[in-house]
């Protein structure tokens, strides 16, 4: 994360404020590569300042009502792409039904950033250290994409491809995320002492299929099948936790970066596994 910019100013672009989804899709169809969507702007503005991207058109989508809000849709909970992390963390439905998402959004960044940053931007930004994708993956959430040519629905895990890489097409917009319920037995924890971002994070869901996901350890969040199997097989007990912690440490591949070495991350992965399982056991 050797980010940091010598520049104060942004490259030139034209700013357009979209009111309706249709407008956005039209613009994307026409401008494609030259256009970028702006939701909370926390990521995009930093990237522009770093000269990592220089779109000629910036389309502000945060004013589009249909892209915001949290709803129960049948057995799923849907979260509009432009819903802010603060809104998610303060939402009662999320707090009760999806603790992992409540925790991930509530502990991300700080109050000023949470008030701007959106879940859509957090996922589309595709950097390794963010928190929402980790929880979404553990929750088996779907991401909904829309273009003039139609709608697509993908698992979040399939959408994220790598560092700064997603499956988003140039003409597409993320409209919402849906989380199948029940997901009450879910948790998100991160370790970030002396760091602005997580050095490593974990999200576990044991409602239905067991899913155990680690964040900040690789370019995209990773599932750990080995740990999942232990829990599937043995349930959560002192001995299974002990085993899971060890297996996690041994089997989760971790990256080296400026926040931590791979060896330390592996260790923290083991500790997070134990403490998160311990908590979910309650």
């Amino acid at each position: 994360m050797s980010f940091g910019s010598p520049y104060f100013t942004l490259p030139e672009f034209t700013y357009l404020r979209a009111r309706r989804i249709e407008e956005v899709l039209q613009l994307l169809e026409e401008k494609g590569e030259d256009a970028r969507l702006l939701a909370g702007g926390v990521g995009l503005i930093s990237f522009m300042k770093e000269r990592l991207v220089s779109p000629s058109i910036v389309i502000d989508i945060k004013g589009i009502e249909e892209l915001r809000g949290i709803k129960l849709e049948g057995s799923k909970i849907s979260i509009g792409a432009c819903t802010t992390l603060q809104e998610i963390s303060e939402n009662e439905l999320i707090r009760k039904e999806i603790p992992a998402l409540h925790q991930a959004s509530g502990e991300a960044a700080d109050i000023a950033i949470r008030g701007r940053a959106t879940i859509g931007g957090n996922v589309c930004e595709a950097i390794p250290w963010v928190d929402m994708p980790v929880a979404l993956l553990a929750l088996d959430a779907d991401i909904h994409l829309l273009s003039r040519r139609g709608e697509r629905m993908l698992k979040v895990g399939n959408f994220l491809k790598g560092m700064l890489e997603t499956d988003l097409r140039q003409n597409e917009l993320v409209t919402k995320f849906t989380v199948p319920t029940p997901k009450r037995r879910s948790i998100f924890r991160k370790y970030a002492k002396g760091s602005e971002f997580a050095i490593a994070s974990i999200s576990i869901c044991v409602d239905g299929e067991v899913r155990v996901v680690y964040g900040s350890v690789a370019p995209t969040p990773v599932r750990c099948k080995e740990v999942e199997q232990i829990i599937e097989r043995e349930g959560i007990s002192e001995s299974s936790i002990r085993k899971a912690s060890k297996v996690a440490r041994e089997s989760v591949e971790c990256m080296d970066d400026v926040l931590a070495s791979s060896a330390y991350r592996k260790h923290i992965v083991g500790i997070l596994t134990a403490s998160a399982l311990k908590e979910i056991q309650r």
């Binding site: 980010f3 940091g4 910019s5 104060f8 100013t9 942004l10 490259p11 030139e12 672009f13 034209t14 700013y15 404020r17 702006l38 702007g41 926390v42 503005i45 930093s46 300042k49 910036v58 502000d60 960044a109 700080d110 109050i111 000023a112 950033i113 008030g115 701007r116 602005e196």
Partner: protein
């Protein structure tokens, strides 16, 4: 150049801006609102915090055009006439500022914390300040100032 119209500390400001201008620069350079500082220009230090429709945002990560029709509050705007606001008073009393460069941002965020009732305890309040850096290390004095208001003095 685009026309832009919004309120700063309750006063209507009509100004010109460019699409790629940041709210931080508009406030400081065009409107002369110098209480808004900056130290990292990428959302980490929080010194450019302003209240945007009452809520804290980091103005180095907001485009100026996004302020159209909004209400921006800065540290200059908290005092009423000659009277400092409660949080400003508490900062003075407890010595919650050294070099003072971060102080406007802390004052605004603390003001928001108190007004919004988002923190019940001192500890929660300190957590909510984690987007701000004070290099002089006045956090303990800020804690005292906050505590004096949280406990209703």
């Amino acid at each position: 150049m685009k026309k832009l119209s919004f309120n700063v500390n309750g006063i209507r400001r009509n100004t010109l801006t460019k699409d790629n201008e940041l709210l931080l620069d508009l406030l400081r350079e065009r409107l002369g609102v110098k209480s808004v500082k900056a130290a990292c220009w990428r959302g980490e230090c929080g010194l450019c915090t302003v209240l945007f429709d009452g809520k804290p945002v980091k103005s180095c990560l907001v485009l100026a055009v996004e302020a159209e029709g909004r209400e921006i509050t800065t540290a200059e705007g908290l005092a009423e006439g000659e009277r400092l606001s409660d949080i400003q008073d508490a900062f003075v009393k407890y010595g919650a500022s050294q070099c003072g460069f971060c102080t406007p941002a802390f004052v605004l965020t603390c003001h928001y914390i108190i007004e919004s009732g988002k923190a019940k305890t001192e500890k929660e309040a300190l957590e909510l300040l984690n987007g701000l850096i004070c290099r002089c290390g006045t956090y303990n004095q800020i804690r005292e100032a906050l505590a004096s208001l949280l406990s209703g003095k």
